[in-house]
């Protein structure tokens, strides 16, 4: 019986679905922004700038891709930025103490994953609403990171490790390859596996999902753990790119990640959206911020613009959804 209900509940997600059309609109928007920027600024189309945009977008994407799964279940993870900071500082310490980047990377991923798991436990076992549980976690992590670092900066990592964030392969930054890998994995996981489909089902209708035999709590744990682990991965790339770790590196990361997810067409109300959309979202946000940068708008304007974009994205999502009904 459960199989039949599952089939009935899940809309077919073939490639030319509603999702694909939504993604197509967003690609057009990204191209339009590119065209405008190319006209306004001479340096936009330079190779250096384009690679820079791609690298920047990939950093946002790593955090936002895990977050997408959380938002697909109608949840939210506000702790991702603080998680990146703590994971980066712990991974950095491990590399300094042991001299082994591999060990550092593993610790960073593990740290991120454990934080994510704790978020999942708060949401499932303790039944605290996700936005407030992860908001509490944000401040716990912030406090821990500042306490642990005590104002210090970790600086100077092995050259091989630094390649992850700042190196090139065949002329493309290495984070861009990682982006392609995780874009592929994320898309396959969400669209082509039972677990992925169950995540959509939980977001679309948690009661129906539970009644049809989906282990909702376990899937939610998985989703928050993945979000945390992706924050851990982002922390490694930040660490390697910046070649330093400080307690405050996560403060400006959460809002852009949420913006990328929402611009990408993932609905806050769950059940609708794609990882690929989030990639386009990250690209659009990065293009806007990059354009402001090229047009010599002060970086002070970035939080204001990101805040407006978040609200606009939610509003647009709700408008299209209302029209569709």
């Amino acid at each position: 019986m459960t199989d039949i209900t599952k089939e009935a509940m899940m809309p077919p997600r073939s490639f030319l679905s509603q999702d694909a059309i939504q993604v197509f609109y967003r690609l057009l928007a990204a191209l339009l922004i590119c065209a405008v920027l190319a006209v306004l600024s001479d340096s936009f189309l330079s190779l250096g700038n384009i690679l820079n945009v791609l690298r920047q977008a990939s950093l946002t994407f790593f955090i936002a891709s895990g977050l997408t799964l959380v938002v697909l279940t109608a949840g939210l993870d506000l702790s991702v930025g603080a998680n990146v900071a703590l994971s980066a500082c712990i991974a950095g310490t491990v590399i300094h103490k042991t001299g082994s980047p591999a060990l550092g990377i593993l610790t960073g991923l593990a740290c991120g994953g454990i934080v994510g798991l704790l978020n999942g436990i708060m949401v499932t076992a303790l039944r605290i609403p996700s936005f407030i549980a992860t908001y509490g976690m944000l401040w716990v992590l912030n406090g821990l990171t500042y306490w642990y670092m005590a104002g210090e900066t970790l600086h100077g990592f092995p050259a091989g490790f630094r390649q992850i964030g700042s190196g090139y392969l065949f002329g493309l930054p290495i984070p861009v390859y990682l982006l392609l890998v995780f874009l592929g994995i994320g898309t396959l996981f969400a669209q082509r596996t039972i677990w992925g489909q169950e995540i959509y089902a939980i977001g679309a209708n948690p009661v129906a999902a539970r009644l049809s035999g989906i282990p909702v709590a376990r899937r939610l744990l998985l989703v928050y753990a993945v979000s945390g682990t992706m924050a851990g991965l982002a922390s490694i790339i930040f660490l390697s790119r910046l070649n330093s770790a400080e307690a405050d590196i996560g403060e400006s990361l959460t809002l852009p990640a949420i913006a990328a997810v929402l611009i990408g067409g993932t609905s806050l109300f769950g059940g609708v959206g794609t990882v690929f959309g989030t990639f386009i979202g990250a690209l659009i946000l990065t293009l806007v911020l990059n354009g402001m940068n090229l047009l010599s708008v002060s970086a002070n304007w970035q939080p204001l613009v990101t805040g407006i974009i978040v609200i606009l994205a939610v509003w647009l999502d709700m408008k299209t959804r209302r029209r569709a009904q």
């Binding site: 509490g136 912030n142 500042y146 306490w147 939080p303 204001l304």
Partner: protein, 316 residues
């Protein structure tokens, strides 16, 4: 609990234990381990330092009672604090500074209410967006620098006394009295209970829940404006990160104070005791030389525990 929506006076005996026990335990703990905690000077210090939080936590209680949330409060306070500093610096007038702070704060409150009530954007995302906007505007108006050299008339508000009581405490008490009167003794207060408990009833009564909701958020913004004046006076300057994270202490105070996040009933005295709990916790940790980072983490744990217990109670 839904049917309790129009009952305006809560039964305090039911909830006094939770937050009062927390407060008493914290006081007992720090009396034992923190030297100088019980001195008059330190305790009055805790009270004065709790005043800014009181001004945020009281309106936050009303907002949470409507099953809402305002994550932008700290950032809006930062912005209003800067507005107070900049305007009072330019005009040499404390009142004009306060006016500017109130105006900007109320404008953000109305914007929050509009996004939530009219556009229907979930409160935590709407106010996260306005948080970013207020943060950005703070950086823009201050250019990332402190605003110094503000007039004495502003600074004196924090240090002056009225009949021997520090002015910030007087302001906090007046605010508490006003909120108590508003929530428990006016129709508007009853409507606020209904906003959380039974919005349909408001519609049937011919009232507009949307307008009421905007009013509640506007009150929150305006209070952030008044708190901004106190913040500027306390720091004797405007600083672009002055209010960072204050909304979290406010949410903590409300959660510890026993206002439910799920049932639309709130308790102002509980919030006041919650504010004192957060104040005592931070002060005590400070006295035993734990850095502010540990204080932040402890408040985070406090919130998660309080919400867990709230969830347990609401399911019981």
């Amino acid at each position: 609990m839904r049917e309790a929506a129009v009952v305006s006076e809560p039964n305090p005996l039911q909830r006094i234990p939770g937050v009062a026990i927390v407060l008493v335990l914290l006081i007992a703990l720090f009396s034992a381990i923190a030297p100088g905690f019980l001195s008059v000077a330190n305790l009055s210090n805790v009270l004065v330092q709790s005043t800014i939080l009181t001004m945020l936590a009281l309106p936050m209680t009303l907002i949470i009672m409507t099953e809402g949330l305002d994550l932008s409060m700290g950032a809006v306070l930062t912005l209003t604090s800067l507005c107070v500093a900049i305007v009072s610096l330019a005009t040499k007038s404390m009142l004009l500074g306060l006016g500017a702070g109130l105006l900007v704060g109320a404008a953000f409150g109305v914007a929050n209410g509009w996004l939530i009530a009219i556009l229907g954007i979930p409160p935590f995302v709407a106010t996260l967006g306005t948080l970013g906007m207020a943060q950005g505007l703070s950086l823009i108006v201050s250019d990332g620098q402190s605003v110094v050299g503000i007039p004495h008339s502003v600074r004196d508000i924090y240090s002056a006394t009225l009949l021997g009581v520090p002015v910030p405490i007087v302001m906090a008490l007046v605010t508490y009295a006003a909120f108590h009167g508003l929530l428990y003794h006016t129709r508007f207060g009853t409507y606020i209970f209904a906003l959380g408990g039974n919005r349909e009833a408001l519609r049937y009564a011919g009232l507009s829940p949307n307008k009421l909701l905007i009013a509640v958020y506007a009150i929150g913004g305006a209070m952030a404006g008044i708190a901004g004046l106190l913040m500027t006076a306390r720091m004797n300057s405007g600083h672009p990160t002055a209010g960072l994270g204050l909304e979290f202490d406010a949410i903590a105070a409300v959660a510890v104070g026993g206002t439910s996040f799920e049932r639309g009933n709130g308790w102002l005295l509980g919030t006041l005791l919650g504010v004192l709990s957060v104040g005592v916790l931070r002060n005590g940790l400070n006295l035993i030389s734990l850095p502010s980072s540990v204080q932040v983490a402890s408040v985070g744990v406090l919130v998660i525990v309080a919400l867990f217990l709230d969830g347990l109670r609401s399911r019981a």
